[in-house]
């Protein structure tokens, strides 16, 4: 997903989307009942669209759709309590409410996470940390974690190409598909492990092991709006937790 250069998500200070996403995740887990959960999901969708990461909302539907289906199946059909009939199928009212809450929670978390991923810039984040004179090791750890998945996928794509060029078929019977996993997962895992090893090595050759304060090459602007948004988000997250604990 490429962001338009002027998109809010691209211009915001790197910490802002991270804090907002964390707050949404906390709030999503904390809010009680279907109504608030749906409201949070709707809010997330609005945020995502207004910050220029609207595609995340659609992308999130890919993993969400099957999850939602199972949730409604599980809780709706198998739930207890008073029932309601929809299209001739008997469904549990409480079950449907529970499924809706869970579905909305997952929707908010998945959408916010994907949007954050899309807008994440490793160099801007590292510069933001350097600007505050925090530890580079911590910054590197965060970046390495967030980039782990895309790197994994890129590596898997390379391995897949090589194995397909040798005749590995991905379509066909379930058995052949399972057998196709070995030639992909083995080099993938071995490569990922070797890379972790290599990385520590490489970083030392690039002077990253020292204790000097790293220079921020292009420190991102931290506007009042950014700080305000972060405080509001953190506050809202905590409020949601308080609501859950108290209510």
């Amino acid at each position: 997903m490429t962001l338009a250069p002027g998109a809010l998500a691209a211009r915001a200070h790197p910490f802002t989307p991270l804090v907002v996403t964390a707050a949404i995740a906390v709030a999503a887990l904390a809010v009680p009942g279907p109504g608030p959960a749906l409201a949070l999901y709707a809010l997330t969708l609005v945020l995502v669209v207004t910050t220029g990461t609207g595609q995340a909302a659609l992308r999130a539907l890919v993993p969400l759709a099957p999850l939602w289906f199972f949730l409604f199946l599980l809780h709706g059909v198998l739930g207890e309590g008073g029932r309601v009939t929809v299209e001739g199928i008997s469904l549990s009212r409480d079950g449907l409410a529970l499924a809706t809450t869970q579905a909305a929670r997952l929707g908010a978390i998945a959408t916010a996470s994907l949007a954050m991923y899309a807008g994440f810039s490793p160099s801007r984040f590292v510069d933001a940390v350097a600007e505050r004179e925090w530890s580079f090791s911590v910054a590197y750890l965060v970046v390495a974690t967030l980039l782990a998945l895309p790197r994994f996928r890129a590596r898997a794509a390379v391995i897949l190409e090589a194995q397909r060029s040798r005749g590995l078929r991905l379509r066909g019977s379930p058995l052949s598909r399972i057998r196709a996993l070995g030639p992909i997962t083995f080099p993938l895992l071995l490569g990922a492990l070797a890379e972790v090893d290599e990385r520590g090595f490489a970083l030392e050759t690039r002077c990253a092991a020292g204790s000097a304060r790293r220079t921020a090459l292009a420190p991102p602007l931290d506007t009042t709006a950014d700080r305000l948004v972060r405080w509001l988000a953190a506050g809202a997250g905590m409020a949601a937790v308080a609501w859950r604990v108290v209510g």
């Binding site: 810039s121 490793p122 590197y140 090595f201 050759t205 020292g210 000097a212 220079t215 921020a216």
Partner: protein, 275 residues
């Protein structure tokens, strides 16, 4: 001034049956280009890792004897702080040496100086100069992960050149470069040596290095068996006995039954065989 000294140094990787280096003694001087070579498994890469302190710190294993890099023992815990930015180790696989977090080549080249806390202005001008020197200024905005092998190798070289290190340790730095790239690197190494840096290159590219190196050290079975002027050694039989060859023309001469001292260049070969 001696920039790097191995004194009866030995090293065994963890779990290895035999030592990678044993009683290895040689030195590299500032202002000179020292060429390290040896048959496969002779320990040239290990020697560079020891010099940089990455062995045994990152690799594990056990070191014996003494290694001194710019006057300090590189295996000491305090060594990275002292040597950081003054020793440049270029690994044989450029992809393995990228930071993994740079979105552009310019950021990649700036990675080490930024880690050392250089002021921004100094970083920007040093990065521009280094990219110019390696002919990659046009790649400044590219994503490092999309580069070809040769381009990546030039980026890593630029990322080290930017530091103007006192000691260069290079492991097969031209493996992915074409002849123009190799010539460029050799020019850079010459000017670095002229500036006073010590350059140590582990390479089997005799054609490239015979005229560039000031000193040839041949490792075999983990210790230095030959140490002298590159051209003298390459013309003789000792390099063959040590399991290393000569330049392409020198190799041809030996196979064609020519006795030592053998021709090394095309010109010398033409002269020899047009009698």
């Amino acid at each position: 001034m001696t920039a790097l000294a191995f004194d009866e140094a030995g090293f065994t990787y963890p779990g290895a049956a035999a030592p990678a280096l044993a009683q290895c003694t040689f030195a590299a001087e500032a202002g000179a280009i020292t060429w390290l070579t040896g048959p496969l498994g002779a320990g040239t890469s290990t020697a560079l890792l020891l010099a940089a302190g990455l062995a045994p710190r990152h690799t594990g294993g056990h070191r014996s004897g003494a290694v001194r890099t710019l006057g300090v023992d590189p295996a000491e815990p305090g060594a990275p702080a002292i040597l950081g930015g003054r020793v440049a180790l270029v690994l044989s696989s450029p992809a393995a040496q990228l930071s993994g977090i740079a979105e552009t080549v310019a950021q990649e080249v700036a990675f080490a100086p930024a880690n050392l806390g250089w002021p921004r202005e100094r970083i920007h001008s040093a990065v521009d100069r280094a990219m110019e020197a390696l002919g990659i200024a046009h790649l400044a905005a590219r994503d490092p992960s999309t580069l070809s092998g040769g381009e990546m190798q030039r980026v890593v070289l630029a990322a080290m050149l930017v530091l103007r290190p006192a000691l260069w340790l290079l492991d097969e730095p031209t493996s992915a470069l074409d002849s123009a790239g190799r010539a460029l690197l050799h020019d850079i190494l010459r000017s670095e040596a002229a500036r006073g840096a010590a350059v140590v290159v582990a390479s089997e590219d005799a054609d490239g290095l015979y005229a560039v190196a000031d000193r040839l050290v041949v490792l075999s079975g983990g210790c230095a068996v030959l140490d002298g002027a590159p051209q003298d050694l390459l013309r003789g039989d000792a390099v063959w006995d040590a399991g290393v060859g000569s330049t392409t023309i020198g190799t041809l001469a030996r196979v064609a039954g020519v006795d030592a001292p053998r021709p090394l260049t095309v010109d010398e070969g033409v002269a020899r065989w047009t009698r």
